[in-house]
């Protein structure tokens, strides 16, 4: 009897080995081929020379023989990186991307925290509905939500019409095609990413702590400051990462709302690629952007693993 069970289990684990190999190998190989290998190619092209051809760069790698490979390595050039380093435009683009992303993150936090807090304190029955209302815009098209702001922020848009009607202003404000419009667009688009982790953190919190504090005579504001806020810090950090990191490389929002005035690196990459057709420069811009983002990404990954 025992023998039979053991045989069964052995057979199962034999097949389990095959099942296990399949479960791991299929997604692993897929991601290697379509996520990691592409980065190797971007890296390679960033060290290549631009050419007027199809494709518009000189391929420098062929894997025919080892000596040929080594000769190819010697042909690699830093030209694109020197170009990117030498032109202040690129430096300014990285810097203003980081600045815009940071300022947007702060505003998203200022709006998102009170919202998440109010949601977590709302009556139990409301919470699923409120949560759904936060997630719903996230499912509807990003492009369309950005587009909606063009109609609001234009000089003859709804906001200016409203402000003129109330008499608060006598001349329409120019908001569209400025950096302000980009802040509004980023905060609006990424607000759910800020609210969801903070709400999750605050909802799990034990409110008996606050009741205990108030029983001991602690005023509500002080209780918030010394109990609620410290408890929610990890969630706040997660929310800030989730807004900041994608905002740095944002393309659609600065392009549609920021006009030609706003310089962001995602847009620069897009223009190098599609307008100037300089693939090596576009690749170098991408590699540097990745390096700029690696630190926050690694920090986020660490944080995530600790939280799980």
């Amino acid at each position: 009897m025992a023998q039979k069970a053991r045989a069964k289990r052995a057979r199962a684990s034999g097949e389990g080995g095959a099942f296990r190999a399949l479960v791991i190998a299929v997604p692993y190989l897929w991601l290697l081929a379509l996520f990691l290998v592409p980065f190797a190619i971007v890296l390679k092209i960033s060290f290549s020379v631009a050419a007027i051809a199809q494709p518009p760069y000189t391929p420098v790698f062929t894997f025919e023989s080892l000596s040929g490979f080594l000769a190819n390595v010697r042909e690699l050039t830093l030209e694109s990186y020197l170009w990117v380093a030498g032109d202040a435009l690129y430096f300014d683009a990285y810097l203003s991307s980081l600045r815009i992303a940071a300022i947007s993150t702060v505003f998203a936090l200022l709006i998102g925290y009170p919202l998440a807090y109010a949601m977590a304190r709302a009556p139990q029955g409301w919470r699923p509905v409120l949560l759904m209302l936060i997630i719903l815009p996230f499912w509807t098209s990003f492009l369309i939500r950005v587009y909606a702001w063009i109609g609001i922020l234009r000089s003859e848009g709804y906001l200016n019409q409203f402000l003129l009607w109330t008499g608060l202003i006598s001349q329409p404000l120019a908001i569209l095609n400025t950096e302000t419009a980009v802040y509004i667009g980023i905060v609006y688009s990424y607000l759910p990413f800020m609210v969801l982790p903070i709400y999750a953190g605050l909802e799990r919190m034990d409110y008996r702590l606050i009741e205990a504090a108030s029983d001991l005579g602690c005023p509500p504001l002080r209780a918030f400051w010394s109990i609620t806020l410290p408890i929610s810090i990890p969630a706040v950090i997660a929310g800030c990462f989730l807004v900041f990191i994608p905002a740095v490389g944002e393309f659609v929002i600065p392009d549609l709302l920021g006009g030609s005035q706003t310089l962001m690196v995602g847009k620069v990459l897009w223009d190098e690629f599609f307008a100037n057709r300089d693939w090596p420069i576009a690749s170098a811009v991408a590699i540097i952007l990745l390096l700029v983002l690696v630190l926050p990404m690694v920090a986020f990954q660490r944080y995530r693993e600790r939280a799980l």
Binding site: V26, F35, S283
Partner: protein, 272 residues
């Protein structure tokens, strides 16, 4: 305890007004009779009619739906496998790299993902088409599916499946008959998420699409850059309506199933 303070009420009202006012304005003005988008000229559905006769939009919508269906289905299979690998198999060679590749696309700027995939397709010599968009969409959305399914798998009681295996059920069959029915809501949610991510994507599709495979966001984008038009408001309203209906219906179905499960459990507990 559950009475909201005035400050909390203001936060809720301001927050949700900020989130929904733009969408409401867009929907309302899609029924505007005037060609001028910001001037109300009476109620009309003429822009919806104009859309129906716009072959470019209809073609793009068809391409988008097909890409979304293919890529969501493939991404759900791959993402569920990836989630199983992450949760079930604690130590396999290269696990760190694997989990890194699952999380990285979630935060990777789309321009970089798009550029790298395009350069891959050029290097390998694959012509850009419907299929290259689908491959690109599968790759980034499988990571979202993996994260959604993973969180469900973590709370799944593994001993159920082990019991099945002890009774002689082969692992794949045990997964199909025991695990899959339990994690099904997460798998379905993953599919829907992948579907809408694909419907929504502009940047990656722009890099990876070929001639004859223009998606709806690409069409909308090229129109939007020329200015605000009532047709775009109309098509946006349709998209918002479709997605909102889908999400609300899915939520209601899962909620009802949850209620039924709780009731069954209570009855079982009472009987036992």
């Amino acid at each position: 305890m559950n009475r909201l303070s005035p400050f909390n009420i203001v936060s809720l009202v301001v927050g949700f007004a900020f989130l929904y006012l733009p969408i409401v304005l867009l929907v309302v003005y899609s029924f505007n009779a005037s060609r001028l988008v910001t001037v109300w000229g009476g109620f009309s559905t003429q822009w919806y009619g104009a859309l129906w006769n716009n072959q470019m939009f209809l073609d793009a919508a068809w391409v988008t739906l097909r890409v979304a269906f293919v890529s969501a289905s493939a991404a759900t299979v791959l993402g569920t496998l990836a989630a199983l690998a992450l949760v079930r198999y604690a130590n396999f060679r290269g696990k760190l790299l694997f989990s890194g590749m699952i999380y990285a696309p979630l935060v990777m700027p789309e321009v970089i993902t798009g550029l790298s995939l395009l350069l891959l397709f050029v290097a390998v010599g694959i012509d850009r088409s419907f299929w290259t968009i689908a491959l690109a969409h599968i790759t980034f959305s499988m990571c979202f599916v993996a994260v959604v399914v993973q969180s469900r798998l973590l709370s799944f009681d593994r001993s159920l499946e082990e019991a099945a295996q002890d009774l002689g059920c082969p692992p794949f069959k045990a997964f199909l008959l025991v695990t899959l029915p339990v994690i099904w809501p997460a798998v379905a949610a993953g599919w829907m998420l992948a579907f809408t991510l694909s419907l929504d994507d502009l940047v990656i599709a722009s890099f990876t699409s070929g001639p004859g495979a223009t998606t709806l966001p690409m069409r909308i984008y090229s129109q939007v850059r020329l200015g605000v038009t009532p047709e775009i408001n109309a098509i946006s309203t349709i998209l918002i309506g479709v997605v909102a209906t889908g999400v609300i219906a899915a939520t209601l179905v899962t909620k009802r199933r949850e209620v039924r499960r709780l009731r069954d459990e209570r009855l079982a507990a009472e009987a036992g």
